[in-house]
Subunit: 355 residues, 2 copies
Amino acid sequence: MLVSSIDEFALIQWLTDGKQSRDFQQAGGVAAGIGDDAAVVNIQPGFQLVMTCDTMTEKIHFTPMTMRDQDIGYKAMASAISDIAAMGAVPKFALVAVSCPPGTGLPRLEEMYQGLYDCANRWNVVIVGGDTTSSSAGITITVTVIGEVEHGKALLRSAAQPGDVLFATGTLGSSAAGLDYLLQRGLPAELWPADNLRPPADPDRPGIESLIQAHCRPEPRIDAGRLLQQSGVCHALNDVSDGLASEAWEISEASGVGIDLIEDRIPIAEELMSYALANEKDPLDYILFGGEDYQLIGTMQAEHAISMQMKFREAGLVLYIIGYVNAEAEGVRLVQSSGYVVPVDKKGYNHFRKG
Amino acid sequence: MLVSSIDEFALIQWLTDGKQSRDFQQAGGVAAGIGDDAAVVNIQPGFQLVMTCDTMTEKIHFTPMTMRDQDIGYKAMASAISDIAAMGAVPKFALVAVSCPPGTGLPRLEEMYQGLYDCANRWNVVIVGGDTTSSSAGITITVTVIGEVEHGKALLRSAAQPGDVLFATGTLGSSAAGLDYLLQRGLPAELWPADNLRPPADPDRPGIESLIQAHCRPEPRIDAGRLLQQSGVCHALNDVSDGLASEAWEISEASGVGIDLIEDRIPIAEELMSYALANEKDPLDYILFGGEDYQLIGTMQAEHAISMQMKFREAGLVLYIIGYVNAEAEGVRLVQSSGYVVPVDKKGYNHFRKG
């Protein structure tokens, strides 16, 4: 059954009806959801709106070798929600625009919407509208997420200050290594086992599932973002969509400060280390230039770092201190284990070309 | 120069920088605009958010024969703003997601953004963010618009009541006739004169420019929507994106009432009449099943119709009474000039197939 064989309004109803209960929507602040020209929602007094959108396109952001249809939906929602996390805000509402060729099978679209809803439900985000249109070629998904944050308390990229340390809310580089593996393997996602959301374990690749998971099902760090925002001691915040180097550069440029990364302090996930060793690659390349990890990096006053790490631990989260703001330097540098300090290139993933 | 020859961040800066002044943004309620993970904005206390998104794809919604690049941007913004007008709300903020092949010329994208900004500026909408990505084929534009409306005062499709008349804020069908003409003519938009935003007049087609304008540069009816919303006597409201038939059906179904259109009361623009006569077509076909007019239709208590028409006239707007809610009937019917009453088919433009 193709999407073109069903009426557009019936299609939207088919894909969205009953996916989020009326109670869930009302608790989220929805006055009128899907089904009118626009959605009507409430926002708490004393809060500001935070809004962002993210697009994923076929063959560029996903291929049959790298993601199942459910993953595509999940990741499209996760990456947009991640931008809200990177402001220290709470995601509330989403709009989903999908365009696909008329010859697309209805089950494909159903799977994508399932993934979109799975991620939205997980983070209490109500999908309040969207648009479903045909395209001449290729699937494009644009997810808009609107959130709220206490007035004047959003965490901007431009807020890094001398005296700050640089932190990360988790290990980096796994997503890029997972992508590498999937492309090498070249097994179409439809041949991955259907009964679970991971591809089969590979006896020659211990821990490979966690790298694949990092690429296919990234988790936005809403909890970490809120913990940082509520603490009042966090300055700048950013999510890692384009690699640590690129994100650190964004903070550096927006704040007008230098940032030094300390190689010895940058954590490397065990699975990434194994994978890199087996492939004779430097794990740091994945970490600096890989992207799509959706961890948060940011800066906070150095004297609060230890107590914040303890708060993170209590919440079942981790916080790594991986560098510091260097007001004497410019741009981003890496303090190598050898003691040498080298400039770090900006290049991350550029959507129009490889840097 | 191709979009792929310039860095993604530089590209966004190039397309958006300086297009809306800091003052304009601040007056609109923007605390942080383009340049961070997400935008941060203010909304008035006592207001609800209204949000919608609209997608236009190449070859489906526009081709080189039907629209110039500036028109594409203008119309993408206008159609999304129109959904806010259809709620009786005020549009405030927009997010723009564009994906295009790496081989797209930078001037094409510049023109599209110019059109997007022209429309946004005209309606005091601040473009606060977006996403620019590559696609494997074809340009896709998704515009999200967020507006605000007085708490509990949005005009829904479901609010039509017995005793209401059906109104339209302008003539309908011109956009579809304009599209017909452009497709027949088959002149690539790049060959249309560059010094003005209309194609040359056609001596054989008097008034054809207004039909082309209706298709390429539709105007969202924000002023009409606000006048209706502020009046307190308007019940249901909808914008005409898919033809009068389809939109009247939406009100009918959502409100659980019948709607009778009165053929003699449906205004026909002079230019549409000439075009239809010359092409041996029925202008009513364009009106009922054409779409993309972006006028508003809706219902209000009959006793207020005359005074509302006067208010519209004072504001330099028009309001046509074209039918009424018929609690005795079901669905949408047409009371023909002959006196016969015939059911009206739902079919409008379906984005996956022609109905």
